[in-house]
Amino acid sequence: MGYPHPPHPKETVVLSQYFGDPEARTYEGWKKRGGYTALEQALSMAPGEIIEIVKESGLRGRGGAGFPTGLKWSFMPKEKTKPHYLCCNADESEPGTFKDREIMRWTPHALIEGCAIAQYAIQAEVTYIYIRGEFTEPLAIMQQALEEAYRHGILGKDAMGKKGLRLDMYIHRGAGAYICGEETALMNSIEGRRGNPRIKPPFPAAYGVFGMPTTINNVETLAAVPHIINRGAAWYKSLSLSSPKSTGTKLFSVCGHVRKPGNYEVTMGFPLGELIYDLCGGMREGRKLKACIPGGSSVPILNREETESCLLDYEGCIEKGTMLGSGGVIVFDDSADMVYQIMRLARFYAHESCAQCTQCREGTAWTVRILQRILAGEGEMKDLDLLLELAEQMTGKTICVLSDSCAAPVVSGIKKFRDEFEAYIKGARRPVTALA
């Protein structure tokens, strides 16, 4: 539901059903709402069966990459020779995204239940929930919920009353680095190392946290798992408005120039235009939609036409040359200065680059300097070609995709809003000198 707004009839409320309901946070309140029945059911099944159900449901990673969740789980070694780990990626730092925050704030037990099911399915002893350092309120709520879960025998020794089953879960608080949301950097961070992404291969399923087989899933992905267990893979699979490869519901965090920003849960394949104009109340008075970033700041920008015709699922976004990403929808109306906005995004990436790869460390900072010079009215036409060339060399050449993420809005921005860049260069637009 469009918390803090009442649910819109076009929403499909599954994960967000209890957003805004403080009672759902508590163990008792959660039990009353049918909590932990899915876990109970899951524990009566073989781990392999659970993986099959999740595979069948078509659930895909909600963190950004959209990798099929059941398939990811199935990569874990079947023969256990080492400890297995589950990591829950709650380091939600993608600019424009705030869905995991709300899941943890209102339904912490949903996440714990999802983690426990996944943990059992991949035969992991321990789950680490890696929470973004700035998430102080969700952290406190999660800690309380975790304590309750242990107290009520959901976790710990003989979990859920099942003899010999031990499920342990720890919360690890991040320290404020965006890059720690990258899965291998997150693992380094849990281990107490500098949060640098690792070279892949080896992949986490073979060599993850502490060098052990590890699966890492996003908060929203794991929170969807209990619903799939309870209501069946077929039900989840049926939630699809467009491509059958994208199933279920997805939370979209809408921010920017809309009347009603907030979290909206819709079925996969929902039209982006409808989300903006209908659910979010459209633009402010007298303003027109100019651009939209549909999946968090790392994905290419859409112009108005593309936005209005884009369908919100993995395939629909790719068709428009962008990505569904994390579902952080950033909306710009015609008052937005795209050059400034893109500079501001690039500056974020330059600040957050872990400094390992040359292209990213130097390229992001250089990109910002060029954009700032253009904004200051000192740019030249050849700077645009240089920006594109740098972006080309920053894409697909590095360990992780942070540098690609910096390049994506620059490339799409220049392609779609070149006239705004040229206006600054030609002196047709007043230079921006104070760069907040």
Binding site: I199, H351, R361, A365, K397, I399
Partner: protein, 528 residues
């Protein structure tokens, strides 16, 4: 490695077969291609961060880093494809935007990998215009011998990985993020690890500098000569860098069997004595006034007279820092006598290992050729040497400083022949003093603690009339009829190999630059 099945692949059109699991960057060397790289170093764990070694592999959508990609059967690798070249040119451009172009005052110039690759495949001009200020941070003294120049740093992290994984003392780190990142040092620590000097060698640019070598020479003025470290019995392979016939720097020379790519700081700075100015520059013979300089013919004749005129017992006091060849020839020269030989070895308590490399340490035995001396029958019995001296008809000294003997133990020695590099006070009683070359001035071999015979080469001329000990001893053999003159170090080694079972079958050619083990390892085991 040889157990693994071979994989065939094509690199730049050259087909190579390498063991499974080999990294592309190493396989490329077999094809004669050095793929440009910064963070990769064969002695360190792979980091894959500089992104310089990007190459194109047929059938793969993206360029791959050769340092972290293993070979695969039938792989076709293009190092110089347009796409790969563009990517590397771009990495160079990125590295240069914050790198000062202060090559004229940088110690690394001439042996700088950034300079080399920019010349090889970089852009002729920067596009980092108009003149943005470059990142600036002041030079930092890391302690020990190491200075850090952050402005030149390309953050390849070789130094950090060396300290973490090889020295296993995490003094260095990467601090900050993005283009503000720099190499940080642990608060309250100094880079004073006994092996820390290696970070200067590992640094591909002029960011980590040796204080000892600071502004001492330009790289292109240096002559490099393969040698063996004389600091201890480990026998690390080194290069002596000389300028104007003076040794100005010692750097490790890779030998996977001995020291991999590293040397300790003790060995690294153990070179100043090689340039000593107070050397014996002419043969000396004793006359009424004392020792007087003369020519080689006179001096050799006098020495031969002494040797021929004496009978009975002879004692050789040798330094464990002289060549195996000289040790052997000295014994052969005295073969006619009832012979005993002694050497004194400096020992310190404890070893200083490099934890990341097996069997590598600064050894407690602080001389390079104790094993060679033992193999050739010399005894490390300084107490037994004193009574032996009293009974000796002839005493031949081979560069031993004699400082461990009391004055009266030598005073009774009538026939003292001293072959040395310098003239210690105790040697002034010698009847003949013959000047010899030091380790930097001759060819020769040492035998390390594991029984590995390793060659060292002449790096600079000997001062004045000084000659290699093998030459001097060969001349004496000829004069005394103990044998024929020796014409080269190689020939001296041939004589040794023919006479000593431990060395049989070995030759300078066999030893090459990596050395070879002696034949009787159990003897070495005993001698340790």
């Amino acid at each position: 490695m040889s157990e693994k099945p071979l994989v065939s692949l094509t690199i730049e059109g050259v087909e190579v077969s390498v063991p499974q699991g080999t990294l592309l960057i190493e396989a490329a060397k077999q094809a004669g291609v050095v793929i440009p790289h910064y963070c990769y170093h064969p002695g360190l764990p792979v980091a894959g961060v500089c992104r310089m070694c990007l190459v194109e592999i047929e059938g793969m959508p993206k360029l791959q880093i050769a340092c972290a990609t293993q070979v695969a059967q039938g792989q076709v690798v293009k190092v110089m494809s347009e796409q790969a070249l563009a990517a590397r040119r771009s990495v160079l451009e990125f590295l240069l935007i914050n790198h000062p172009l202060d090559c004229p005052i940088c110690d690394q110039a001439g042996e700088c990998e950034l300079q080399d690759y920019v010349f090889q495949e970089g852009r002729p001009r920067t596009r980092y215009t108009p003149a943005y200020p470059k990142r600036f941070s002041p030079v930092e003294d890391f302690g020990g011998d190491v200075l850090y120049v952050p402005n030149r740093c390309i953050l390849c992290t070789r130094c950090v990985r060396f300290m973490d994984h090889v020295a296993q003392d995490s003094i260095l780190n990467v601090s900050e993020r993005g283009d503000r990142a720099y190499i940080g040092i642990h608060p309250g620590r100094k880079l004073d690890h006994p092996w820390a000097g290696n970070v200067v060698d590992l640094c591909p640019v002029g960011s980590l500098l040796s204080k000892d070598f600071l502004h001492k020479a330009r790289a292109w003025e240096l002559d490099k000569t393969a040698s063996i470290c004389t600091g201890c019995s480990q026998g690390c392979n080194v290069n002596l860098d000389t300028r104007h016939n003076a040794v100005v720097r010692i750097r490790p020379r890779p030998n996977l069997e001995v020291n991999q790519y590293f040397i300790c700081d003790y060995g690294r700075f153990n070179y100043r004595w090689m340039n000593r100015g107070d050397r014996i520059e002419a043969p000396l013979v004793k006359d009424r006034e004392g020792l007087a300089a003369t020519d080689w013919d006179t001096a050799l004749e006098r020495a031969a007279q002494i040797l021929k005129g004496a009978d009975g017992k002879a004692v050789a006091l040798v330094s464990p820092k002289v060549s195996t060849e000289a040790l052997f020839l000295a014994r052969r020269l005295l073969g006619r006598f009832e012979w005993s030989g002694y050497f004194r070895l400096e020992r310190v308590d404890g070893e200083i290992p490099l934890p990341g490399v097996p069997n590598l340490a600064l050894r407690s035995e602080r001389a390079p050729n104790g094993t060679g001396a033992r193999l050739l029958g010399y005894g490390e019995d300084t107490e037994g040497a004193v009574p032996a001296l009293r009974q000796a008809a002839v005493v031949l000294v081979l560069d031993d400083p004699l400082d461990w003997l009391s004055a009266d133990s030598l005073s009774e020695v009538e026939n003292l022949i001293y072959l040395g590099t310098v003239l210690p006070p105790a040697a002034r009683g010698a009847r003949v003093v013959l000047p010899i070359a030091n380790v930097a001035e001759e060819d020769g071999t040492f035998v390390n603690r594991d029984g590995r015979v390793q060659r060292y080469f002449q790096a600079k001329p000997a001062p004045g009339m000084a000659r290699p000990a093998w030459w001097v001893l060969g001349q004496l053999m000829e004069e005394t009829g103990a044998g024929e003159a020796v014409l080269s170090a190689a020939q001296a080694f041939e004589l040794l190999a023919a006479a000593e079972p431990a060395f049989s079958g070995l030759s300078y050619e066999r030893l090459g630059l990596k050395g070879a083990l002696i034949n009787a390892p159990e003897r070495v085991e005993v001698s340790r």
